[in-house]
């Protein structure tokens, strides 16, 4: 940070292009106080939660169908792998044409970005449930939905959690890209504002916020979830 500050002061580049640490922190602080950054954070997270939730639900359902029916596996299963390799932002032009440049288009990109990973993780989680557990449950008379609820889902929880984690990361990236290009506020849009106003201090502030939120979600929420499961299962 000292090197950053010194480099900024000494360099011949104008400060609006390469602001120093102190200036960035000041903008960050002011942005949080006057609500410019805080508002954007809430807007972005709100969108993310909606898109992420939809993606998780759709992913679980698709994952179940692929696991359960061979025909779905042969058709949709392959398609999902193909779709997963498309970066989600590629969907934006299509989304803009379908839904117009706005909330729905961004939500669509966020959801699409997370759905396929979630689907793939759910499928492989379900497929990797040891036959032994299923046999045990069946000898006790479990079948159908009961088997799914009491054995298949609990047994694939570790894989589902890592699916959630990946899905979160994918939708977070999709959200930023979507907001950057699309309209309607949020952190990504604030970045774009910063660029057009030539306020690199604002741009860097937003980047810091993005990094902080990403780290918090990954380290606090998902790592803790994973650790809890591992402890309960005796894996760690």
């Amino acid at each position: 940070m000292v090197i950053w500050e010194v480099a900024s002061r000494l360099s011949t580049v104008p400060t609006f292009m390469f602001p120093g640490v102190l200036q960035v922190l000041e903008t960050l602080f002011n942005g949080i106080i006057n609500g410019q950054i805080t508002g954007a954070i809430f807007q972005s997270i709100g969108r993310l939660l909606v898109g992420f939730t939809i993606a998780v639900i759709v992913g679980l359902i698709l994952g179940y169908l692929i696991w359960r029916y061979k025909l779905v596996d042969d058709t949709l299963g392959f398609l999902v792998v193909a779709l997963q390799s498309i970066p989600s932002i590629v969907w934006l032009p299509l989304a803009i044409v379908w839904f117009g440049l706005g909330e729905t288009a961004i939500l669509f990109v966020v959801t699409i970005g997370a759905t396929w990973t979630m689907t793939m993780n759910t499928t492989s989680g379900f497929k990797n449930v040891p036959t032994l557990y299923q046999r045990v449950a069946r000898t006790y008379g479990s079948s159908g939905f009961h088997l799914l609820r009491t054995v298949i889902i609990p047994a694939s929880i570790p894989q589902i959690i890592s699916g959630l984690r990946l899905a979160w990361a994918f939708s977070w990236r999709a959200l930023m890209a979507g907001e950057l290009l699309g309209a309607g506020g949020g952190l990504g849009h604030l970045l774009e504002t910063g660029r057009s106003l030539g306020q690199m201090d604002l741009v860097i502030s937003v980047m810091i916020i993005i990094a902080i939120i990403g780290t918090i979600m990954d380290n606090v929420v998902f790592t803790r979830l994973e650790k809890n499961v591992q402890k309960k299962w005796g894996l760690s």
Binding site: L132, Y133, R135, A155
Partner: protein, 280 residues
Amino acid sequence: MYLTLDGVEKKFQSNTNNEVKVLDDISFEVEKGQFVSIVGPSGCGKSTLLYLVSGLEKASKGKIEISGEQVTKPGPDRVVVFQEDGLFPWLNVLDNVTYGLLLKKMPKKEAEAKATEMLKLVHLSNYADSYPHQLSGGMKHRVAIARALVMDPDILLMDEPFAALDEQTRMALHNELLEIWRKTKVTVLFVTHNIREAVLLSQKIIVMATRPGKIKATYHVQTTQDGYTPDSVTLDLEQKILATLEEEMEKVLKEELGDDYNFKKSDIHRDTNGDMGSGI
């Protein structure tokens, strides 16, 4: 007769689309409350036979009946104890044991009371709140047995349940199993490759031949009045069963190790010094 198998045959589809006959014309009967073991070399289909009785697999031919009713699907009246304990790692010991009871729509309170009692029988009542990974191998198997017994099954099917355990634990569990069997009078069908185990535990022993699996011989174990078997009887029977199995074992080993392998060593006595035992 209680459990009847009549001309049971099982074929599997192999990779090359050939049908492999695993079991051929298996017929035997088990009386209620009897402890029957099935011994045989590896790959003789003894586990498959157990799965057929449990209903997890379907027979290609023949009939399996329990008190006159044909077996079509798995059910809680025929509970299986598997080679691995198969406890659900996401449930604690008590929840593992009540799993089947709750499936039978038993009220939670009643199920827990019953499970606690059964855990006492296997000496694990202090571990009701533990998770499976916190238990030793032997303890896990005892939980698995408790989970099966708590269902009051008509038949307890055991698929080499003690094969993965060390000798001491296995011996302790043998005694516990016999005690439980005497107390509950449950019918047991016990699959093992361990001849001694079979002789120690059971009243009737079915010896299987391999490829395809067939019944080679049936032995009845003479028990004394108190239910214990004297050593002389078990040793004699062990020798007999071993002799019956020798030929089968050689067949398996030859297939796995090549044709020049000989299971039996040369018949002429030779001691390790190379002389004939008297300094010649």
